[in-house]
Amino acid sequence: MTESRLLEATPMLPQVAEPVPGTPALPGSATPHAQPRRRRGGRIRVTEVIPWLVIAIVVAWAALPGLFTSYGPTAGDAAAALQGPSGEHLFGTDATGRDMFTRVVYGSVHSLSGALVAVSVGLVLGTGIGVIAGSVGGFVDDVLMRVVDVLLAVPTLLLSLSVIILLGFGTVQAAVAVGIASVAAFARLSRSEVVRVRRSDYVEAAFASGGTFFNVVRRHVLPNSLTAVIALAALQFGTAILAISTLGFLGYGAPPPTPEWGLMIAEGRNYVATAWWLTTLPGLVVVAVVLSANRISADIARRGRA
């Protein structure tokens, strides 16, 4: 049930109802714990730092992989094939004797850049659609949101696969496919945020003090809608890493021997009975990164509300 449909189905009731006397900020209605809560929002907690640390490490891997490992990502040492995790090979080695930790470190650039591309595609297209629909309204809104409805109606993975069948296999193609699948989420959120902000008293007050449409959108609507969109972008970053690794696992992303995380796990599947580290450890890295992105998103959203 999409927002646009809901709005369409309901006649926009103007402000017929008078504000009930005193309801918005009833004198003496201060909630008892409102004050302490607010103060808590200002302090930085340890649990908020860890996710950033995880992301920072992975970004460092992507930027300077050589600093973290002395092996090469594709060079195998046949003598050291299928060794379990050890001091020498932190994540063990695969069937061709490649160091798994090295591959994970070198693979981070694929996942991160892929996710970055995906989020950019979703953010630019989706937010563009959403902001235009929300601020212009009327017919434009209707048409744009119907298109978004269509995007929403197709399950995300199927949408990505449709794009892939059009564009072909590859890292960039997979990233774009994932990005396009997230357009609808960005469009809906940014539209509803814009609509929410537009209904606020301060936007009306801005019009009442002589603001032109573009000035009001630029000065009030966009800045106030942004927090939620940024939070969604952080969330989608994690989602994109998941989705890209899924496409990699299915074999639609980077071709072997690229050390892409999903592809690595797919390759490790054949040794699932004997070499657990080939699948488990890269997977844990994916979980850690996605979890961190989700945490960061939640923290941004919470701070935005405070």
């Binding site: 714990h33 302490p36 809560r37 002589g210």
Partner: protein, 574 residues
Amino acid sequence: MSGASAPVRALAGARSAVGQDGPDGAAPVLEVRDLSVAYSSGHESTTVVHEVSLRIHPGEVVAVVGESGSGKTTTAQAVIGLLAENGSVTAGQILLNGTDITAWSPKQLQAVRGSRIGLVPQDPNNSLNPVKRIGDSLGEVLRIHRWGDKRAIRARVVELLERVGIPDPQLRARQYPHELSGGMKQRVLIASAIALDPELIIADEATSALDVTVQRNILDLLDELRAELGTAILLVTHDLAVAADRATSVVVLKDGRVQEQGPKDEVLTAPTSAYTRQLLADAPALATAGRRTLAEAERIVAHGAGARPTLVVRDLVQEFSLGRGRDPLRAVDGVSFSVQPGTTHAIVGESGSGKTTIARAVLGFHTPTSGSIAVGGQELTGLRGEQLRQLRRVLQMVYQNPFSSLDPRQDVATIIAEPLTNFGLGDRAGRAAKVTALLDQVSLPAGLATRRPAELSGGQRQRVAIARALVLEPQLLVLDEAVSALDVSVQAQILRLLEQLQDDLGLTYLFISHDLAVVRHISHTVTVLNQGRVVESGLTESVFTDPAEPYTRALLAAIPGRLAPAGLPQEPSA
């Protein structure tokens, strides 16, 4: 936690604790001794109630009066053991019929709540489970305390609904909360509070969200039940006038401390604390006369009579479509009035009277269905785009809620200067100077210019909103419930500010309000609205002292404070 270790302070003097002796020497239903409550967050703990003591005897009404943050609601919550999760009683005792319940377990308290202490909550509109039928919600308290079987409960529910004056109780019991009006919901909540015939009812701002006539009916009902059942009532309210009407004794709280307490007549007629005197002076409802005499208002209005009125509204009709195949809703139905320059015209009415719709039409936010609106002689209806924008230079608005009418991301200087920026008036330095001048004019320190709204109090925000409205030097200021969300003392300050600005700058106000007392205080002329139609209009003093219409009379009679003892301090604020 327990107050057992706290020494019971000797209650010295008849006025240190309310109702020292009951009417017939009976033990108090509720006794609160030196109660302190703190909220903790992390390692910090803030005490919000300091050593509050009070007593209520059967059949008494004790009003706890205070502004926001005074700790009055917290005190009430402590009594029923429903403090927020991070709150705790740090000292003192709560005695119910002589038994100390302060250290009782949650289970023990559950047995008391609902059966011996009833609660009538603040906002009836959110206080009933929205997906439960009225009858089930009302019967819930009976089921919780295992009162009778299904059939008995059903019968009792109908009986209770009847008792609180709900017509058609059988039908109502099967309905859902959204199908009842606010006043009816509050009646249901009262029925639920009295269902098990408790000794004590806590009414926490029980009528603050209701229209004035509904408020009166609900308070009358509570009074009646008290007389009939001998229940004691703890009346928590921000409204001194309500306390003056209904209470036997009054406790005045400020910042969690008792400022003054005693029998109502004593507290209201001979207040000993400066704060109580200030509260009494600031409460417009307790002023028995308007600020101006009739003659004064006549003179001021007559003075501008020759000039062109600042605002003329003629036969305004505003309809809202409710969708295809349905009659449109006529929110405003043929309203006419005019406002002389330099005067304040008030539009007063209850919820749904159409007053806000008129304000919004005057500001050009929606096009009227028919009728005309002229500001300074210029017809406003039909203006669009740039013409309408230009008109905004002479026409400004102040909103009800200062928490939502200021952009949280801008600082005060930017907010105030925005209208100048919009019309490209002045350069950067000129605007800054103007902002400083305006801050001064609305009595805000210049240092506030760099703050954001979240750092300001409600009163300060409203001053910022007024400064923004004034920066273009408009002819007409529309004030839509502009003081309704503020505490009494802040409200009085803002009203004084508005009056002073009017005197200094010759401003014209269109003052929209539900609060008759405030309207009487500030306006020269008034239009009384009911369901979109004008009931009566004219000079405020003459309408208030000599209402021609029954509706106006009923409205005026419902203003709290009318039953207050004679001999109140009559001096309105200077």
